[in-house]
Subunit: 385 residues, 2 copies
Amino acid sequence: MQNFTLHTPTKVVFGAGQIAELANQIPADARVLITYGGGSVKKNGVMDQVHQALKNHQFEEFGGIEPNPSYETLMKAVEMIRASHFDFLLAVGGGSVLDGTKFIAAAVNYPEDPWQILETTGSKITQAIPMGSVLTLPATGSETNNGAVVSRRSTGDKRHFFSPFVQPLFAILDPVVTYTLPQRQVANGVVDAFVHTIEQYLTYPVNAKVQDRFAEGLLLTLIEEGPKALENPEDYDVRANIMWSATMALNGLIGAGVPQDWATHMLGHELTALHGLDHAQTLAIVLPSLLEAKKEQKRAKLLQYAERVWNLHAGSEDQRIDAAIAATRDFFERMGVPTHLSDYGLDGSTIPSLINKLDEHGYHHLGEHGDITLEESKRIYEAAI
Amino acid sequence: MQNFTLHTPTKVVFGAGQIAELANQIPADARVLITYGGGSVKKNGVMDQVHQALKNHQFEEFGGIEPNPSYETLMKAVEMIRASHFDFLLAVGGGSVLDGTKFIAAAVNYPEDPWQILETTGSKITQAIPMGSVLTLPATGSETNNGAVVSRRSTGDKRHFFSPFVQPLFAILDPVVTYTLPQRQVANGVVDAFVHTIEQYLTYPVNAKVQDRFAEGLLLTLIEEGPKALENPEDYDVRANIMWSATMALNGLIGAGVPQDWATHMLGHELTALHGLDHAQTLAIVLPSLLEAKKEQKRAKLLQYAERVWNLHAGSEDQRIDAAIAATRDFFERMGVPTHLSDYGLDGSTIPSLINKLDEHGYHHLGEHGDITLEESKRIYEAAI
């Protein structure tokens, strides 16, 4: 096991009806800015519950944060807050609203050009406005971690940053609010949480038994519950298990003391930035090809994954590994998330632009061994056509 | 899944050499009181490492906190702090030092008789001195939770309390410092962590798949690594896996959203209070008899436990359950912790006194269904002779 520091201070308030708890989580005298996305929370009753809970608080709203939140939109919220003071930010939405709100929280009093936050991956942040969330889409894990991803439309960039100052104080997770999600978002969320887990698990063994078994527990749960959520959207326990898996997949716990990969995310980010694909779609495209390409480096963990997650015991090592990668691809397809570039109308002609962007962003040595070069990234994209 | 609130704010700093990190975790201007137990930390070099890390801090020491820390001893530390101001308490030791230090932290400025803290299970605490720890014995999980158990020798009482004010700010976990532990303490620690996990797992199903699999992951790890720690005390990964399992077993994570039992602990506490048995010894005595007694109520989870933890698939339901209980008992015995009262020189004559103490403490309805009455507790003790 590798050395680690793990700090998970976000308080989780989980379960049906828990939005009412907001009143006790935000200081009574705080002036609150509620941030949200495209407006579904106004139609499905979530925002009404938030207003009811905050009936004795002072609050205003800022809506319109897009999927893959844009720097341009977020800067409008920053200007609004600079013009009219707020003490607390409440993100009501999914990972994009969460991530966007983290950026807003850090940018308002940032002393230089806020784009620098993303250029320095958050290392120069020294303060942020306190924030919490009501999560509506289980997927990114952003509700209990201190990372965020922001895109700049004008330049085709998608960059991330981390800072302890943007760790949310609380996350309210009510599985009931996920009943009305479109199937595409449910599927994307399950794939996203699954790949987060894989990125922290499918590397090489360091004898970290607890972390491995926790990761396997999340993968098994997502495999079992994901398809059920598509079939029966109002099964509370299914929704609760998915929601809790997605949060646990990226709060730091399963990644503590183990090597991590994240190359699938980096290759995927360029696809979203250039072609607007959903984040999870890009992961479903890249991961199977990446596992195929890194079969030798990941052999020991691929065998463990085949056995413990997919219950594959028969055949040669290579057969079990191939079957596990095929099962992974099949799982994404069963969730309704296609796994080839061609499924999204893309062909190999986009690959040079993707590689240029990886080059520009300095991603020359990705993966847990730093051995995914631009040349190898090109082969992974090509295998995914 | 049941509704829950989970708050795990203690920062974990894990790994070889991490005691040096103390300097960054305690405010530079804090006057620190280091608390410790019987003095082994002075012989094995741990206290030297602590002093080295705090060479630019002001500190004093308070030693002599016993296993099953006594109210009488802890009140001496309280008097010392009242007489000479301290801003920070650093517990260097195992669960008893941690628990004792939590009590000291809450008692110093408690406005009434500090024994009231234990009579009201901490509900009236409104402040405490901030604290952190260097853990030397993986077992109780006290390093990342807000509970503590304190004994009063003069009355034969062993009581617990909880308060968010005594949640440690940080826990430094260096597996290397556990190499020199006596085998009995290693074994006790593994049994203690195992039973903590069981108390939150072996109840009835609520379809909490993540929590179940996390609990099973801890049980499997302790079963695999426990005996290895006795055979080869200086295997770093074995020690690291045990240490991390023990912390994860009682930080709130696996118990969030599921029913909990804790009857084994309550029946065990009376054995420690009256006869001075090690905490883990009492758990090893009580648990197998309790599982036997509550076989019907726990049937579904016992079957899951038999299959997933002990890999028992053959035979009738009752055969699998019996085999799982026998395997549990055998595991404790292999760890060198006997499982019968008679192994500790006790016979049935002590049972009336134990029942009287349960009665006095109001434990008339223990277990996840509240159906372990005094009569049933008596049968459980009798079956354990």
